[in-house]
Amino acid sequence: MRSLLGLPARPASKAAEAPGHTGSRSTKLLGLALLAGVVALCLFAFVFSPPDSRTGPEGTPIGQFDAVRIMYVHVPSAVWGYVGFGICALGSAVYLLKRSAWWDRLAHAGAEIGVVFCGISILTGMIWGRPVWGTWWDWGDVRLVTTLMLSLVYLGYLAVRSLAAAPAARESRSAVLGIVGVVLIPIVNRSVDWWEDRTLHQKSTLEELRIEDLTLFTLVLGFLVGGLAFAWLLIHRFRVAWLDAEAENSEMLAAIEERRSEASTLNGTVAQEVAGTATEAEGTGTGAEGAGTGAEGAGTGATGATGREGTGATGRERQMEASRR
C-alpha cells in the first residue's frame, strides 16, 4: 500500500515495534465528532428542547418539566449498555468456537464499556426517579432491579478477567460468563411489558410515539452521540486490551530469555571450573607418578593413585557446589 502511494518502505524494526498509544487518525476524527456531538446535545437538551409541560384534561400539570431532559442521556446509555453486553456475548461465543484472541479482546472491551454505560443509566435513572417518582430507588420496579443485577453479572465477568491465570484459561472462563450473562438481557428488556403491575417504568417511549418535534430529535441525537462515545471507547479499550496482552507476553518472553541467559552463564562458569580442576588433577597425578617412577616403584604408584583420587574428589565437590548454586 505504501509503495502504491509512492511512500518509502517502512523499516522492518519500526514495523515490528508495538504502538505506544491507542490513538489513530480515525479515532481522532471520531473523538472530534464526539466532542462536537456532546456540545450539540447539551445545546439541544438544555436550551432548544422544551420542558415537558403537558397538562391533564382538567388543566392540571402532568408533565415532568425540566426533569425530562435526563432522558436524553438515560435512555441512550441504557440501550448502548445492552449493546456492549451483546457484543461481549457475541465475542465470547465466537471466541469459544474459533479461539481467536481478537474476539476475546472485543468481548472484554464490550463488557467493560457496557458496565460503564449501564452504570450511567442506573445513576441517571435514580436522579430522574427522585423528582418524578418521589424516590431514588424502588424495589418493586423490575427493570431497575434487573438492570442492576445485569451490571453485577458483568462486574463478575470483569473480576474473572482481572484474575492472574493462564491467558487461555482466563479467556475460556470469561467467555462462558459472557454468554450466560446475556440471558438476563431479554428478561430486563421485556420486564416492563411482562410485569406491568410491578414497575414504575414507562413503556417504550419511542414505540408509543408520545414525544415529538424537538424532544424526539434531541433523543435521537442522544442515541447518535451515545453511539459515537460507545464506538470511541470500544476501539480504545480494545486496543488497550490488545497492548496489555502483548505486554504480558513480551514480559513473559523477556523473563524466560533472562533465565536462559543466566543458565548459560552459569553453565559456562561450571564448565570452566570443571575443565580447570581436571587440568589441575592431571598435573598433580602426573607429578606424583613421575616421582614414583623415579624412586620407589610400588609405593609411589600408590601415592600417585591416592593423589589422583584426592584431586578427583575435590573436583566433584566443586561440581556439586556449583550445581547447588
Partner: protein
C-alpha cells in the same frame, strides 16, 4: 444416562460418608432462618408475609456452600482429573454433578418448608405450585451452581468469587420463585403459575448453557 447416574451417585455417596451436608449445610440454613427472624424483629405478620423471599434467600446461600463443597472436594483429591480422563462427555459430567446438587437442595428445601411453617407461621395453600416451583427452580440453581462452582474453583479464589458470580445470575430465579412461592403460601395475590413459567424458562436456559459450556471450562482447568 448411566454415566450421569454414576457421577451423581459418586457425589451423593461422598456426601453421605462425610456428612458435611448433614452437620454443616443444614444447620447453616436453620441458623440463617433464625437470624432473618431476628432481623425482622420477630414480627410474626411480617415473617409470614416475607416467608417466601426469606426461604429462597436461605436456599441460595445454602446452595453456594453446597456448590463450593461439591467442586472443592473433587479438586483436593484429584477426582476431577480422573473423571476428565475417564472419557465421559463434559455435558454428562455436568448433568451428573447438577443432579447430585439438585438432590441435596431438594432435601434441604423440604426441611426448610418445615422451618418456615414452624418458625414463620407460613401456611401452604397450594402445595402443587410450591412443589413444582421448588423442583424447577432447584434445577436452575443446581445447573448454575455446578457451572459457576467449577469455574470459580479453577480461578484459585473460588470462596470469594463464587458468590459474586452466582448470586446475580440467579436473581431472576430468586425474583420469580419468590413470587410463585408467595402465591403458594397465600402471602401474595399474584398469579403464581405465570411466575412459575419464568422460573422454568430461566432454569431451562441455565441447564442448556451449562451443558454446552462445561466442556470449555474443564479444558481451561486442565
Amino acid at each position: 444416562m448411566r454415566s450421569v447416574l454414576l457421577i451423581a451417585a459418586k457425589d451423593l455417596r461422598i456426601e453421605l460418608r462425610s456428612r458435611v451436608f448433614l452437620y454443616q449445610v443444614i444447620p447453616f440454613a436453620i441458623t440463617t432462618l433464625v437470624l432473618l427472624g431476628f432481623a425482622l424483629d420477630a414480627d410474626r405478620a411480617a415473617l409470614r408475609n416475607f416467608s417466601s423471599g426469606l426461604y429462597w434467600v436461605t436456599v441460595m446461600l445454602a446452595a453456594l456452600l453446597t456448590a463450593q463443597r461439591s467442586v472443592s472436594l473433587e479438586r483436593s483429591s484429584g477426582a476431577a482429573d480422573a473423571i476428565r480422563l475417564s472419557g465421559v462427555a463434559a455435558a454428562k459430567i455436568f448433568a451428573g454433578k447438577s443432579l447430585a446438587l439438585f438432590v441435596y437442595l431438594i432435601v434441604l428445601e423440604l426441611l426448610m418448608v418445615l422451618g418456615i411453617v414452624v418458625l414463620y407461621d407460613a401456611t401452604l395453600t397450594d402445595a402443587g405450585l410450591a412443589a413444582a416451583t421448588a423442583v424447577v427452580a432447584t434445577l436452575g440453581i443446581a445447573g448454575a451452581g455446578t457451572l459457576y462452582g467449577v469455574l470459580a474453583a479453577g480461578s484459585g479464589v473460588g470462596e470469594t468469587l463464587l458468590p459474586v458470580l452466582l448470586l446475580p445470575v440467579l436473581a431472576p430465579v430468586l425474583i420469580s420463585a419468590t413470587r410463585a412461592f408467595g402465591d403458594a403460601l397465600g402471602a401474595s395475590s399474584v398469579n403464581g403459575w405465570a411466575w412459575f413459567g419464568l422460573v422454568g424458562l430461566c432454569s431451562l436456559l441455565y441447564m442448556l448453557l451449562g451443558g454446552l459450556s462445561y466442556g470449555p471450562i474443564l479444558e481451561a482447568d486442565s
